[in-house]
Structures are given as structure tokens and as C-alpha cells.
């Protein structure tokens, strides 16, 4: 699989990453090489094989819906880069 700079730009947009022109070139080459290696999986016939998403036989884990104490607001906001009135402050989402 060859990866073009345009592919890299598309994926970077999905991943919310901004790449320099140099990074785009580099990643196009490296991701292409990695994906070509990964194509060896196509040597295996996996028709009818169940996918494994998790090795343990655990599905939904439920607990009783009982209220319990949570973190105080000032603690939760301790690492916030910007905050106001007990909330995380960010640039406007809508104009």
C-alpha cells in the first residue's frame, strides 16, 4: 500500500494533528512501509474466524447505581490550563 501526502493530510485531519511538510513526507514513506509489512496478514485465511477484541470473557460489568462521593470541583480543576466559575474555559465553539 502506497501512502501519499494527501492520504497523510486526510488522516492527520481525522486525528486532529497538524503536521509540517517535512513530517508529511516522512510519515507517507514510513506509514507506507509499515502498511506493506502489515499486508502479510492477508496470507492468512480468516473466513469464519471470530475476532478477538478482548482476551478475558468479560462483557458488560454492572454495579449498583448508588450515589457515592466524587471529587470536589477545585480538585478536578487543579490541572486546568484555563478555568472560570468552576468550569473549564475554552474558545467559543459557535460564533
Amino acid at each position: 500500500m502506497d501512502i501519499t501526502v494527501r492520504d497523510v493530510e486526510h488522516v492527520a485531519q481525522l486525528a486532529r494533528l497538524e503536521l509540517s511538510d517535512r513530517e508529511k513526507e516522512l510519515f507517507a514513506g514510513q506509514l507506507g512501509a509499515i502498511l506493506r509489512y502489515i499486508e502479510k496478514l492477508n496470507e492468512l485465511d480468516t473466513d469464519g474466524v471470530e475476532p478477538t477484541s478482548h482476551v478475558l470473557p468479560i462483557s458488560n460489568v454492572m454495579r449498583d447505581d448508588e450515589p457515592r462521593p466524587s471529587w470536589p470541583l477545585d480538585k478536578v480543576l487543579e490541572n486546568a490550563p484555563d478555568k472560570e466559575d468552576g468550569q473549564f474555559r475554552v474558545p467559543a465553539v459557535l460564533e
Binding site: L19, I38, L44, V49, V55, N79, D82
Partner: protein, 484 residues
């Protein structure tokens, strides 16, 4: 120095008899760090003040107060486990100033066992790497040869233990990140079964694979540390509600009748001849101790690295979406919109390997490629796991090398990600199967440590530890020390 070479149970007895104070142990650890850290660079943070304060507190407890099983033992924590009040960076610029408000469950359990946290250990950024060269902050060097890498991603943890800076360390293992650095640094590293140790407070890389475990100087210590951190945790719904046996009492020294499988794929092409020779010698030793050794085939081994890099990168691309610059970590200055804030904060905060893996994972999960890559890899994971299930029908453990070579030179593989990934060929299949595995020293090749990997059935760490301990006690390899 000599204090920090003793076994944990030995030190526990000396502390209990009053021959030793916790302050002596903590002093010894801090002194050793001062002497060696410039050469090794294992720590991202040394909490000298906190460690001394805790030593004083423990030493002043009344003589009849109950003592935790790891009372007074100085330990280091890989910097991807959150520690209340102690900066936790994941070796990433993104979290350079992140000060967690709570402890990871494994860290809390160590505190309950009354260990003393000496500091936070270097790693590859977000645990992505095999050499610790992907740390955003510093290089860690192998105590056996400072021109070489300590392995990774728990390179700081393995180097600190090998250099005698701490008695033990916690590491985390997603595709080999405890076992491979342990092998490279000549110490013991145990990756427990997936689900054996709570992941609560471990910064997530690949949630279906990540597991916390001990890096120690000998197998008995690994058993003691695992005992302290294992068990179900309501805060991690993927931690298993499986009984935790008494690990130290499993170390009987007896491996008569133990059935060891050796997959021929683990000793094939790409394995350094000297590494292979050390592993074969180790297997001979097991036979002389009364175990049986038989060659088997695990035919899907060769597909494990490709499978892993799809699954781990996909999970990482999703997990690392949380680093958006809103609630903690880096926030880009003067972003005009929320979208720009995400984009620029992430781009400024993440290093190249992290970006590469997020890109690979995002690609594999993107529209039109999901079935071809992600789902295909999940199916191959099933085939790889079946290889293990089949062998474990007739064998107790599986053995082979931990890594195909000894520690490589700093800078040797940084330009070629695929070659770096292939270095994890021996450890990745085990991670995909979720099985427990240990790396124990099995001698030197050209003066560098070689690790023997012993893999067990899921939740049968006891047999893995028993086998590793019997081998260790029958050999002198674990007594070898780097000439620092």
C-alpha cells in the same frame, strides 16, 4: 550499595529485628542515585524530600503497629502511573506539568504495603517504543554499557533496578515493555496475565493489552511485589475477579515433571546465535532439574507483530484523543477556535513516535479500511491465541528468548520504525494472548545480559514464578552485576 542488593524478605526480617531502619534503606537508595544517575538517567523525578519524610514516618511507628508486607522498601514507579501530588508526565511534553489528584490502584496498593516511593522513572513517550529513546525529556542508558539502550518502554524502571538505585520498580507492558528492558538490563521482569493487576490510574496506551508488573533483582522479589499489587479492583472493570494465590509459597524450587514447550518459531531466523545458545543452555539446565523440554510449533507467531501494530495503534489513537488541551496538559496559546485549540495543543504536545502511531491507528480505523486492517487483525489475534491454547493443553509453560538480540546501540534503530517494531517479536505474541510471562537473566553474550522468557497459562503466574525461581536458584546469572 550492598543493602540494595539484598532480597526483599531478607530486608524485611532485618527491619523487623530492628537491625535496620527504613531511613538507612532510603539513604542508601538516594546515595546510589546521586552516584550513578548522571551516567544512567533513569529518573524523571526524584522525590528526595517525600521519601525521607515517609522513611521517618515509618521508622517512628510504634513497635507493635502492624507492618505492611513491603514495609520500608524504596521503589521507583514508571511515569505512566499516576501518583497523587507527584508530577506524572508519561515522558511527554503534553503532560510536563501534570500533577495527579489521585494514585493509580497499583501505587495505592504499594503504599498500603508501606513501600517508599523514591521517584518516577523514564520511559518511551506514552509507553510507545522499545528503547526509551522516545522520551521527550532525557536519554536513559544501559548500566551494562552506557552506549547502549536500556530497552523500553520501561527502560528507566529496568535501568534503575539494574543500577541498584531502588530495590524494585513498577513497569507496564503492552507488547513487551516490562520483559524486554528487564532482559536488556539483566534483571527480572514479570508481565502478569491481562486483568491480574488493576489498570486504574495507568495512563492508557492500548487498553486490551496494557498490564502493570514488577521489575526486580530476583524472582522471589517479583513474587512479593506481584502479591502486593494483584487482585480485582472495582475501579477497573477489566480487572479479573480471580483469586490471587500466595505467590512466594509457590517458589518450591521443584520443577520435576514440569512440561516445557519450546516453539521452533521462537528460535528461528533473526535470533542472534549467542542469544539462542544461552537459551538452549537454560533449557538444558531445566532438563537437569527434572523438567521435560519438547519442541512445538506455534504457526502464527510470524503474524504477531503486524497484528499488534494495527491493534495497539488503533486503541492508542482512540485513547489519546483525550489529550485535547481542555482539562489538563498542554494548551496551545491564542487558539482562535476550539478546533484549532485541539489541533495545535496535540501537535505541540506529542513527539514523533506518538504522532506516527496515532496516524497508523487512525488510518486503520478510518472509513473503508476498518475491515481490511482492524477487523482482520482482530481475527488473526484469535488465531495467535489459539496457538497458545493448543500448546497449553499439553504443557505447563512455554520458553524461549525474551528478545532476539542483546541491547542495541543508542541511535541504531531510531530512523527505522519497522526494524524497531520487529525487535518485539518474542514478547508480542504473549501480549496478544493475554498470558503471563517473566524474563529472567540467563547469562551474557559479549558482556551483555540475555533474558529467558517463561510464559504461563492465563492466571497461572504461580507456575511461571516457580519455574523461573528454580532456574535462578540453580544458576549464578542473577548475581552478575554491571560494573558501573
Amino acid at each position: 550499595m550492598s543493602l540494595l542488593r539484598m532480597r526483599l524478605p531478607e530486608l524485611r526480617d532485618r527491619l523487623a529485628r530492628g537491625e535496620l531502619r527504613v531511613a538507612d534503606l532510603v539513604d542508601a537508595s538516594l546515595r546510589r542515585i546521586r552516584e550513578t544517575e548522571e551516567k544512567i538517567g533513569a529518573f524523571l523525578l526524584v522525590d528526595e524530600e517525600g521519601a525521607r519524610r515517609e522513611a521517618e514516618r515509618l521508622d517512628s511507628l510504634p513497635a507493635d503497629a502492624p507492618r505492611g508486607p513491603l514495609f520500608g522498601m524504596p521503589a521507583g514507579i514508571k511515569d505512566n502511573m499516576v501518583t497523587e501530588g507527584l508530577v506524572t508526565t508519561c515522558a511527554s511534553r503534553f503532560l510536563a506539568n501534570y500533577r495527579p489528584i489521585y494514585d493509580a490502584t497499583a501505587v495505592r496498593k504499594l503504599k498500603e504495603a508501606q513501600t517508599v516511593t523514591v521517584g518516577k522513572l523514564n520511559m518511551d513517550e506514552f509507553a510507545m517504543g522499545s528503547s526509551t529513546e522516545n522520551s521527550a525529556f532525557k536519554l536513559t542508558r544501559n548500566p551494562w554499557d552506557t552506549e547502549r539502550v536500556p530497552g523500553g518502554s520501561s527502560g528507566g524502571s529496568a535501568a534503575a533496578v539494574a543500577a541498584g538505585q531502588v530495590l524494585f520498580a513498577l513497569g507496564s507492558d503492552t507488547g513487551g515493555s516490562i520483559r524486554q528492558p528487564a532482559a536488556y538490563c539483566g534483571v527480572v521482569g514479570l508481565k502478569p496475565t491481562y486483568g491480574r493487576v488493576s489498570r486504574y490510574g495507568l495512563v492508557a496506551f492500548a487498553s486490551s493489552l496494557d498490564q502493570i508488573g514488577p521489575i526486580t533483582r530476583n524472582v522471589e522479589d517479583a513474587a512479593c511485589v506481584l502479591q502486593a499489587i494483584a487482585g480485582h479492583d472495582p475501579l477497573d472493570s477489566t480487572s479479573a475477579a480471580v483469586d490471587v494465590p500466595d505467590y512466594p509459597s509457590a517458589l518450591t524450587g521443584d520443577v520435576r515433571g514440569l512440561r516445557i514447550a519450546v516453539p521452533r518459531e521462537y528460535l528461528g531466523e533473526g535470533i542472534d546465535p549467542q542469544v539462542k545458545a544461552r537459551v538452549l543452555e537454560a533449557l538444558k539446565k531445566f532438563e537437569s532439574l527434572g523438567a521435560t523440554v519438547e519442541e512445538v510449533s506455534m504457526p502464527h507467531t510470524d503474524y504477531a507483530v503486524a497484528t499488534y501494530y494495527i491493534l495497539a495503534s488503533s486503541e492508542a489513537s482512540s485513547n489519546l484523543a483525550r489529550f485535547d488541551g481542555v482539562r489538563y496538559g498542554v494548551r496551545a496559546e491564542d487558539a482562535g477556535s476550539l478546533a484549532e485549540l485541539y489541533l495545535r495543543s496535540r501537535s505541540e504536545g506529542f513527539g514523533p513516535e506518538v504522532k506516527r502511531r496515532i496516524m497508523l491507528g487512525t488510518y486503520a480505523l478510518s472509513s473503508g479500511y476498518y475491515d481490511a486492517y482492524y477487523k482482520k487483525a482482530q481475527k488473526v489475534r484469535t488465531l495467535i491465541k489459539r496457538d497458545f491454547d493448543r500448546v497449553f493443553e499439553s504443557f505447563d509453560v512455554i520458553a524461549g528468548p525474551t528478545a532476539p538480540t542483546t541491547a542495541f546501540r543508542i541511535g541504531e534503530k531510531v530512523g527505522d520504525p519497522l526494524t524497531m517494531y520487529l525487535n518485539d517479536i518474542c514478547t508480542i505474541p504473549v501480549s496478544l494472548a493475554g498470558a503471563p510471562a517473566i524474563s529472567v537473566p540467563c547469562g551474557l553474550a559479549d558482556g551483555l545480559p540475555v533474558g529467558l522468557q517463561i510464559i504461563g497459562k492465563p492466571f497461572d503466574e504461580a507456575t511461571v514464578l516457580r519455574a523461573a525461581h528454580a532456574y535462578e536458584q540453580a544458576t549464578e546469572h542473577h548475581r552478575l552485576q554491571p560494573a558501573l
